[in-house]
């Protein structure tokens, strides 16, 4: 009898031309699919240009060369980040390897271990500039269908995902993410603290074909407390390149130089 009811519901959904979200994919599967849109599944490098605005005026600009590789064990990305600009920070390096984070200054040859708190500093925080597979550190618990405005002010039919931190490595306590229902492209996300305070909003936009997949080439980050504090992250110079495991350690930092 129960089976009959399910079959009837399924037939009804088909007749209506749509499937309910739960029947197609679980919220976590949608999150995994949206991660795959943002991130290639092989080691790669890119250039990230960050432009920061306050009260409508450009107040800061920096350029980073980023090399990322997924951890063969956990699946989360590890990254080497090297400053190209501004000049005062040129060639400084940050290694992101889970909670093992190191800063290296080639002028002083000093390697300094960073705490996860330091990953959060700044609006486009250190944690935002590197590649992240959300599905590795978060659990999507609900998906509801909703129309929303994307970064190009177009209305998109999306899954609105409720996402909670599931590991200690998660940077945010909770995320609400809108994922395009047809393409699983991430559209926008709101990031919240433990207390439920909105920390930032991110729009994923300017989709272009990268390594054969349409991927966002720009993220616009809006501060939760000061909405006129805006950071634009533009990705360019994508390149498929090997990032050997041996590079992802403190002792390699003095040796690293992007090709």
């Amino acid at each position: 009898m129960k089976r009959l009811k399910t079959a009837a519901l399924f037939a009804l959904a088909l007749a209506c031309g749509t499937l309910p979200a739960w029947a197609a994919r679980s919220p976590q599967e949608i999150l995994i699919a949206s991660d795959a849109v943002r991130n290639p599944d092989f080691p790669f490098g890119l250039t990230n240009t960050l432009v920061e605005y306050r009260k409508g005026k450009e107040t800061d600009r920096s350029t980073l060369a980023i090399y990322s590789r997924a951890d063969p064990n956990g699946g989360q990305f590890r990254s080497l980040v090297r400053y190209t600009a501004p000049l005062r920070d040129a060639n400084k390096l940050i290694l992101f390897n889970g909670k093992d984070m190191w800063f290296f200054d080639p002028s002083s040859k000093a390697s300094i271990r960073l705490s996860p708190q330091q990953r959060l500093l700044g609006q486009a925080s250190n944690g935002d500039v590197v590649t992240v597979n959300f599905a590795k550190d978060y659990q999507a618990t609900a998906a509801v269908e909703e129309d929303t405005q994307d970064g190009d002010r177009q209305t998109r039919h999306c899954y609105k995902l409720t996402i909670n931190a599931s590991t200690d490595a998660a940077t945010y306590a909770q995320i609400t993410m809108w994922v395009d229902a047809a393409t699983t492209r991430p559209v926008k996300a709101r990031f919240f603290s433990d207390s439920g305070k909105l920390l930032k909003t991110a729009y994923y936009r300017h989709y272009q074909p990268i390594f054969g997949v349409e991927r966002p080439t720009e993220t616009v980050i809006i501060d939760g407390l000061e909405p006129d504090w805006v950071t634009v992250m533009r990705y360019s110079d994508w390149v498929k390149r090997d990032v050997p495991e041996t590079w992802l350690q403190r002792d390699y930092l003095p040796r690293f130089k992007p090709e």
Partner: protein
Amino acid sequence: MSPSRLPRLALAAIALLLARHAWADDDDANALMLADQVDSTVAQRSDWRSFIEGSAGYSHWRNGNNRRDSQRLSLDTQYDHSLSPAWRLFVADRLDIGWPSQNGNPHGINTLKEAYLNWRAQPETLLDAGRVNVRNGVATGYNPTDYFRRGAVRSPVSISPASLKENRQGSVMLRGQQLWDGGSLTALYSPELDDRPSSDGFSLNPGATNYRDRWLLSLSQKISSDYTPQLLFYQEAGRNAQLGFNLTRLINDSTVAYLEWSGGRRQPELAQALQQYQPGCACKAWRNQLATGATYTSPNKQSLTVEYHYNGAALDREQWDALRHGYLPAYAQYRNWTAAAQDSPTQQALFFYASWQDALLQHLDANLMHNVDLADHSRRLWFELRYHPGHVDYVIQWQRNSGEALSHFGAMPEAQSWQAQVRYYF
């Protein structure tokens, strides 16, 4: 509250929520419009990184409350160039021209900090030859495992730990490194090239850092996600080997703790400093040097470092009191020797370092350092404001030394000093 007002309040609350939602949408729309205007220029990587720095300051000296003015002009250049996928050239040089000259040094001092060739023989095998600035250690204010620090600071322009690490010359050496997943082994040999430093400001000055044959082996191995200890084995010709150890650990998401230790059989630093008075001192014993502490970072970009320093080769409280109340030339020679070695003249000290990025104003950094000598209770306080809106850094530094006469910091000729700097990157 009357029941009749409740529906109106509820309506007002709903209206407020809807308005807030509308504001949020407006904020997002404004932000996206701003993002549409971003100039799409991408900065290109350069092999060069240089700056020119001008500085002017004055000091109040202890003797007779004299005031002394000083000026300095510096040019600092780094060049890091890949000659081919396997070969890389690195050169770093600094020129300081100061008025008046300090401590009998010439007005102009050029420090060839580094000049070496790097060869990537295999993806995991690297070799270097030339002058290399090798720096080990995880502490901030004192680094017992920084074995190549002696004689390296030729032109001290600031007492900040970052400046002392940056403005120093490397040692000529051959260095090899083998990397593997989660670890590495480094071996280096640095030969004796001269037995004393040069007083010529434009000399390559090999005697300052290549005064004896030296070897270093260092091994790092990740043993868990949070532990990657480093072990070091260091030896100078004619001296006993010294062992070293570095370890860091996360205490919580805001705090990193660390331990740096070096130990081995050696003479006390006083015997080494006064060798001309006491040749062949039979006073070798196992001596430990240690720096341990933690750095806490707040969500507001403030961080505080607290460290304890122990130098078992230096003088304890009684020995230090005896020396500074005894024969003055011996005291002066000991102070000069420990200063060149970047060691404390006494055994125990505390170190505090606080920094605040974007302090009240974007691009304004405030840094505060405090040293306390636990043997004679002398102190040093240093404060810096650094404003860096673009290519230019504007800096103000203040320093005060206090303590009894001939104490660690009380013996510094400057009781208080100010310095203003402008640095331009190009």
